[in-house]
Symmetry: C2
Subunit: 136 residues, 2 copies
């Protein structure tokens, strides 16, 4: 399983062939070696990289942000401080998202709790309250 065609990496990563080529055009994955006939030849670390992209996308990162995350990983020797700073910024970003998702989950939890049975659903405005209440 040393080298595989685009169809195989795509399937392994759960993507379409066109999407893999698209990611290559976007610079998210490096252009792979080519066979004599011009076929792309991938090694299995490409699958890892593609899976990473899929997961990051699922979490809500844009392709551009994913590109940044991948660069963090790739940046060689020099600019370690830079890499670190960017990683920290990303972490802060993620923590904000987590906190806000937590607030939303709590609000929905309360909604479910109060909705128990067949009440008048009048308290469903909790949702809005809990979520737009504090903003500072």
């Amino acid at each position: 399983m040393a080298l595989m065609t685009i169809g195989k990496v795509a399937r392994a990563a759960g993507l379409g062939v066109e999407t893999v080529r698209f990611y290559e055009r976007q610079g998210l994955i490096p252009a792979p070696a080519r066979s004599e006939a011009g076929y792309r030849q991938y090694r299995d670390d490409s699958v890892r990289r593609l899976r990473f992209i899929v997961r990051a996308k699922g979490i809500g990162f844009t392709l551009h942000e994913i590109g940044e995350l991948l660069e963090l990983q790739a940046t060689e020797g020099a600019g370690c401080a830079n890499v670190q700073a960017r990683a920290e910024a990303k972490i802060a970003d993620i923590e904000v998202r987590i906190a806000e998702l937590g607030a939303m989950r709590r609000a929905l939890g309360e909604l479910v709790g109060q909705c128990r049975g067949e009440g008048p659903v009048s308290s469903c405005s909790i949702l809005g309250d809990a979520l737009d209440g504090d903003r500072s």
Copy 2:
């Protein structure tokens, strides 16, 4: 501050006028009352609703999902069980997102930890490892 024009709600919510009209077309906010001249007249709860949309969007919900969240809140009396089920599904959804963001944050944290100083950044591949390692 009983009634305001679209420009004012837009500014209060941190959006453009066109975007507010767009959200109305999409059914995310109700069509407001109109002045004699046909101007939209908003009450300040519109600002809350718009801010909710902005925040939910920031967290990574699509407009469609936001519409669903807002419906949960709005559904009157009947269909409480339905509302509950949908809220629970949304909670499960949110928890998955939180977990994945947590994994990503931990991975980035490790990256930052190891990158401390000015090492050769060779260990930066942690990023990939931690994130695509477990998938079952």
